[in-house]
């Protein structure tokens, strides 16, 4: 009987113990007690090209700096949901990466002020200060987004939203100059159509971008677009400028792919990649890489900035940004962490990342891949930052309603007047 009781007690204790690990905090183990261990939470999945390049770069950094060991946790984009809870729970995470906007606007409080590090030089900066090596406008963006004007994220992998086109189609249609105004854009579409091509397409995932860009061209200020989106009285929607913007898209509708209204990403991208459509109206610098499996590296991509709208107030704004690295303000070795970041974002490894992903380099001395070479001048010409969606997403209730109506407008299912009327009625 006594044995039986002891058996039950033993089993009960075992049960209790089996529950305990659930409540442990999962501290990252340090393999080498003498080494300076850095834990890096990455926004990439281990099988992505970016991850492969970063892995090699980090290995080289560890070889060059024997005292530093880097533990990489490949989180993928789930990091958007997992990082903050992990930081709040006290998990050791020394550095992480994500979009510069998210890093600064959402996680600035967890990060180190990087201003002093930007003044120093590193082995990959050829004796120059770090800030003189990387694209200046992205440093400005990183500091503008923060609450105190300091930099909390090191940008890498820059992107810009532009219009992509098939150079072969342009050549065959006799188009020698990319369009700068809306009238020229329609003229270009007309020539493409006359040459037997379907001129323009877009996917649902990017449907907010043309309208956002257009309204920013019209108003020259994304805050005005935010006011428009938040207006429930309908007065701002009665502005003739809005009607004119809608009329611009009504005029574009006959040139859009017949699939536009039902295009689920990446169906529209594939229309361009498979030579069926000539222009993807708004997409990011990553487009050639995303469809590389279909196009191969020899596809003749071209890019031009989003054209000026009819009666534009400004034409020099653009949607741009970058991925970025931040360092935890509780990191025990911030100097080593920044040295690693400098190693990854400048010189050889920046070039490697750019070449392997057909993306833009961060180091100003590096060439842009041929697939996006025209983006370099577009990027350089931008002087105003337009947020993603151009401010349309600042009202999460109005945004889907406007985008749904805009899809009907750009597909030619409704007129400009109907677009305005429908949006006003549904936002009341």
């Amino acid at each position: 009987m006594k044995v039986k009781r002891q058996f039950f007690l033993f089993t009960a204790v075992l049960l209790m113990l089996s529950v305990l690990p659930v409540f442990s905090t999962g501290q990252q183990g340090a393999d080498d007690v003498d080494a300076k261990n850095l834990v890096y939470w990455s926004m990439w999945n281990e099988t992505e090209t970016q991850a492969m390049v970063l892995k090699d770069a980090i290995k080289e950094f560890e070889n060059e700096n024997p005292g530093v060991k880097v533990d990489i946790q490949w989180n993928g984009r789930e990091i958007r949901k997992t990082l903050q809870p992990a930081l709040d729970a006290g998990t050791q995470i020394d550095m992480w990466d994500e979009g510069v906007e998210l890093l600064t606007r959402s996680w600035q409080d967890y990060a180190v002020n990087l201003d002093p590090y930007f003044e120093k030089s590193y082995p990959s900066t050829n004796g120059k200060a770090f800030k003189e090596t990387i694209i200046g406008s992205l440093q400005d963006l990183a500091s503008d987004l923060s609450t105190d004007g300091s930099i909390y994220a090191v940008p890498y992998q820059p992107f810009v939203v532009v219009s992509f086109y098939n150079r072969d189609h342009f050549d065959k249609a006799g188009i020698t100059k990319t369009p700068e105004t809306w009238a020229e854009f329609l003229e270009t579409c007309d020539k493409l159509q006359a040459a037997g091509f379907t001129p323009v397409t877009i996917d649902d995932a990017y449907m907010d971008l043309p309208l956002g860009m257009h309204l920013n061209r019209v108003y020259g200020d994304s805050n005005k677009v935010v006011e428009l989106v938040k207006d429930r009285s309908g007065k701002l929607w009665d502005d003739p400028k809005v009607l004119q913007a809608a009329k611009d898209f009504e005029a574009l509708a006959p040139y859009m792919s017949p699939q536009t209204e039902g295009n689920k990403w990446p169906a529209g991208q594939q229309e361009v990649a498979t030579d069926q459509v000539s222009i993807y109206i708004t997409n990011g610098t990553w487009l050639p890489n995303e469809v590389m499996g279909t196009t191969g590296p020899d596809f003749r991509w071209g890019q031009f900035p989003y054209p000026a709208a009819t009666n534009s107030a400004s034409v020099t704004g653009g949607i741009y940004g970058a991925q970025g690295f931040s360092i935890n303000n509780k990191c025990a070795y911030p100097d080593e962490a920044f040295a690693l970041i400098a190693h990854l974002t400048t010189g050889k490894w920046d070039k490697e990342l750019s070449a392997k992903t057909y993306g833009a380099p961060m180091d100003t001395s590096m060439p842009w891949p041929v697939q996006i070479e025209e983006c370099e001048s577009v990027f350089a010409s931008l002087d105003t930052y337009i947020p993603w969606s151009g401010g349309l997403a600042e009202d999460s209730d109005a945004f889907p309603i406007i985008v749904a109506e805009f899809t009907s407008l750009i597909s030619g299912k409704i007129t400009a007047e109907q677009f305005i009327g429908n949006v006003k009625a549904k936002l009341k």
């Binding site: 209790m16 949901k81 709040d88 979009g99 995932a205 209204e261 039902g262 997403a393 597909s411």
Partner: protein
């Protein structure tokens, strides 16, 4: 007897503690949280801002949340009618002695073992595509040009398309349940009815349906729960942001708590407290549906 009690307590306590920690505590915390403005779901209590029932008021004045409730009702009601009707029909056919029952049962159930993500991708690209999708090709072959050109995934049509695709996958699950229910009914009843001259519809109306009450009741509750937590299909049909035709309360809650899927949201638009309020509302809806089903479909305790 005393020893048995000790044993009972010893074994039950860990389970009870675990249940309390992983279920009761989060439930209470969620209800509590729904009365606060909480920007990030992990914010400490000190950062919570009491707003009373403001989150609930905002939700019911939000066009998208109201739209999400309409969508979920339509999925539940119209989808439910479709799924139950087709599942009943198939289960009656398969239990009527048709050859190859095992094969058909497995084939009909197959969509349930495939990931919803794969199923949705297949439907979006290989059924609904207006360029190379199944529907396009069939209508094109028949010469129905207007039907072949329909944009099944456009904002106007995507709710119906998504509901059909979802229901297609759910039929097999209910076929299995209904078949089990029908097979439990003794064959003698049908034989006696046949001898009395009852045709197949009378047999269905007076034997099958009354004896399937308990099965139907459980099925309706299960269908209601799965409809109310409708999420993956909606996310697949609108990967980046909630869309009017695909938004459901779960998707709306996800957007409120975590923001946009690919591009960052303005942090001030996030509200985990309102997300918790959505959770509370969904729980209440499930309870109400459960109550209504229990009251309207009473099990008459028929023994056979």
């Amino acid at each position: 007897m005393k020893r048995d009690k000790t044993m009972m307590i010893t074994f039950v306590t860990p389970a009870l503690i675990t249940f309390a920690l992983v279920f009761i505590y989060p439930t209470i915390r969620t209800i509590f949280m729904s009365f606060f403005y909480v920007q990030a779901v992990t914010d400490s209590l000190g950062k919570w801002n009491f707003v009373g029932i403001d989150n609930y008021i905002k939700l019911f004045s939000s066009q998208m949340f109201v739209q999400s409730l309409k969508n979920i009702f339509n999925i539940w009601f119209w989808g439910g009618i479709g799924v139950f009707a087709v599942a009943l029909l198939l289960s009656i056919i398969l239990t009527s002695g048709v050859k190859g029952k095992g094969f058909f049962r497995a084939a009909i159930y197959l969509p349930n073992v495939i990931s919803a993500v794969a199923m949705a991708t297949m439907w979006i690209h290989f059924v609904f595509s207006s360029k190379y999708g199944l529907l396009h090709n069939v209508f094109d072959f028949l010469g129905w040009e207007n039907m072949a050109a329909v944009q099944w995934t456009s904002p106007t049509n995507q709710f119906a398309s998504m509901t059909v695709a979802y229901c297609f996958g759910m039929v097999g699950y209910y076929v299995l349940i209904f078949m089990a229910g029908i097979e439990k009914i003794p064959r003698d009843f049908y034989e006696a009815a046949k001898l009395e001259g009852a045709h197949i519809f009378q047999q269905f109306r007076h034997i099958t349906m009354p004896l399937m009450r308990a099965v139907m009741r459980s099925s309706i509750v299960m269908w209601s729960v799965s409809s109310i937590v409708f999420f993956i299909w909606s996310m697949m049909f609108s990967t980046l942001d909630p869309q009017v035709g695909t938004v459901t309360p779960m998707v709306y809650m996800y957007a409120l708590v975590f923001g946009r899927s690919i591009v960052p949201s303005d942090p001030t638009l996030l509200n985990a407290g309102a997300g918790a309020a959505v959770g509370v509302i969904m729980t209440l809806i499930v309870l109400v549906v459960f109550g209504i089903v229990n009251v309207t479909i009473r099990d008459k305790k028929i023994q056979y």
